[in-house]
Amino acid sequence: MTTRVSAVLAVLIALSMGTATAAAACGGTYTVVRGDSLTEIANELYDDARKWSVIYQTNVDRIGDNPERITVGTELTLTCIDGLPVGLDDGRGARDIDARSALLEVPFASPATREPIALLTADDYRPFTDRTLPGGGMYTEIVQRAMEAAAPEDGFAIYWVNDWASHHEPLLSNALLDLGFPWFKPDCEADPTTYRCENLVFSDPVFEVLTLMFVNTSNPVAFTEDSDLHGKSLCRPEGYSTFIFDADGRNWLEDDLVTVDMPKTIEACFEGLVARRYDGVILNEFTGREKINAMGLRGQVDVGGGRPIAIDGLHIVAHKAHPEADELIALVNAGLARIKEDGTYQRTIDAHMARIWAELAGS
């Protein structure tokens, strides 16, 4: 594979974003020694004893049913969470970078250098991408397995930049990173002029979700036809897709029929919903329900009546400005096809969905 990074553009962007510091390698393998327990390892390496459950979930195949019994010599995989743990021998897992440090984390390439394929995602998109989940979330694990199956000769690495709004522009558009996930794909035959259709190349879909409107139970707005939401105030987090508001001739934003606020976090959307500043929060069903549970809002917030807002596939994307966008997407698709063929895809989805439905039913 030839160079993936445009050195000139990368330098320009790096300068425009000011100084940045390189992030230390993070995560890796830890070998259990006499006297260890999961809580002690978590306390020592994550500086938070409560994170024992993350270690357990990530390594349940090696630990077995009882998290209180770990065997000396067992090699535990410790995922990178908030920059910890550092200093482990084998730091080849996901690395932690923030938006500012991202630019120097990816070295400038020249035709002489070959770099691993850099994949880009972000936290707090449960159950799909979040480093506190096993495998970094269902979607991250599928991407990891697909890339392993595709086995690009230069290798690959997954980077976390917790600012979705920076992913398409500038990180992917300047080929600072190569592939991003997970992203909804608009209907590009119907709406070829949306930003995503004009600028992104999409992989085959990996997962498909309903996008729902969550409402305050004391203000039960229902969505049956497009005009039901005219004049309403909606919330969707920053960096999330907005094409759904204009798709299929809906034109809620284009014609100013609906107000959409886009704060930094999902929490801010739900807080605004509870405070009746918004009539609805627009999120995919799983992320929405998990966040309602996590925030303890069951009873106060529920799915609105009527129909879903949209059906969307979640894809891996490359930016058309990337000189090898099509080759990268072909590589991802080949990896996906391989893990669908050998059963890895279904096993991975199975394990995550079993946990997701148990959590949604049990809380």
Partner: protein, 341 residues
């Protein structure tokens, strides 16, 4: 309690004497005090055992086929039989589509390869999916041995399966299917009946009337309705259940006096009666055992679990808003009564 169809010969003549299909126009009927589904079926079709035709044509208005409130306006479909069977539904073929459906045959009139369009439920599912939002391509595979279907659906060899009865999914002791599968809205709701020997003194006014009795239901057919809604006939040991291999075996046990009643959906019941030449010897009690929905299911671990579920539910809702749903149901019921008679 009276019996249905003491003499089927009378019914056959009555149906045959009904106006030809070409002249028939669907009628409207306002229920008068004292009228029942039986009396209305007698009035329009001259055959009270076809009362469920009226139920199926008015399922939205009637929660209980036995409770007809005076003043309810009913659609009275054309008398069964004689209509030319035409369908506009896109036939589904086995193929590598985005949505691969799995069904099993030998369940007339619901799913059966020898039935027109593969059965009523097959045609309704195909018609509903023509109306689905965010459309995908659809294919259908048949495997008449249904014992492997759930496993094939669990590992996503196929995307969705039908037709399935739904267990009670509310209680803490949920059936395993509730945890593993999403159930669509019912494609059709089917009346179950208790078939008894002519002249038998079995009374079924309340659930407790059957305590101490022995029922028969073929092996492999779900028994959710015998235990649901406080009935608990099987789990509490109130009622014994014989489960021979086939519906025909159940009727043999009934005729030989080894069971008190055969508990079956009315279609399988009538079909088997006709096949065995037991018309006149065996008939259903008027009070139905219940009404059960037939559903499409998809694994909760499918990558399109909730979205495919929405596609079928929304397509079905749109189909029911049109006249096409009722047209398909009544056309298949016509074929059914033709064949039974």
């Amino acid at each position: 309690m009276t019996r249905l169809a003491r003499s089927l010969a009378a019914a056959i003549i009555a149906v045959a004497a009904a106006p030809a299909a070409a002249e028939c126009v669907t009628a409207r009927h306002v229920v008068a005090p004292g009228e029942t589904a039986f009396s209305i079926a007698e009035e329009y079709y001259g055959a009270h055992e076809t009362w469920s035709l009226i139920f199926y044509a008015n399922v939205e208005a009637l929660s209980d086929p036995m409770e007809l409130a005076a003043g309810t306006e009913l659609t009275i479909p054309c008398p069964p039989g004689g209509q030319a069977f035409t369908t506009a539904t896109t036939p589904l073929r086995p193929d590598e589509a985005d949505m691969r459906l799995l069904t099993g045959g030998a369940l007339p009139p619901f799913t059966d390869r020898d039935w027109p369009v593969g059965g009523m439920v097959t045609e309704l599912v195909a018609a509903a999916l023509e109306e689905m939002p965010a459309p995908v391509t659809v294919s259908l595979d048949w495997d008449d041995d249904r014992s492997g279907h759930l496993e094939a659906l669990a590992v996503n060899d196929f995307d969705m399966g039908f037709p399935w009865l739904k267990p009670g999914c509310a209680g803490p002791a949920d059936h395993v299917q509730c945890g593993n599968f999403h159930f669509s809205d019912p494609i059709v709701e089917v009346v179950s009946l208790l078939f008894v020997r002519d002249g038998a003194e079995l009374v079924f006014e309340a659930d407790t009337d059957l305590h101490g009795k022995t029922l028969c239901r073929p092996a492999g057919v779900a028994t959710y309705d015998l235990d649901g809604e406080g009935r608990r006939w099987l789990s509490a040991g109130h009622v014994a259940l014989a489960q021979p291999a086939t519906a025909g075996d159940c009727f043999d046990l009934l005729v030989s006096g080894e069971v008190d009643a055969v508990a079956l959906n009315e279609f399988t019941g009538w079909t088997t009666l006709a096949e065995r030449g037991l018309m006149g010897e065996v008939a259903p009690l008027e009070r139905p055992l219940g009404v059960e929905g037939l559903h499409v299911i998809i694994s909760k671990r499918h990558w399109r679990g909730t979205t495919h579920l929405y596609r079928i539910n929304e397509g079905l809702a749109r189909l029911k808003e049109s006249a096409r749903y009722d047209e398909i149901v009544s056309r298949h019921l016509g074929v059914f009564w033709d064949r039974v008679n």
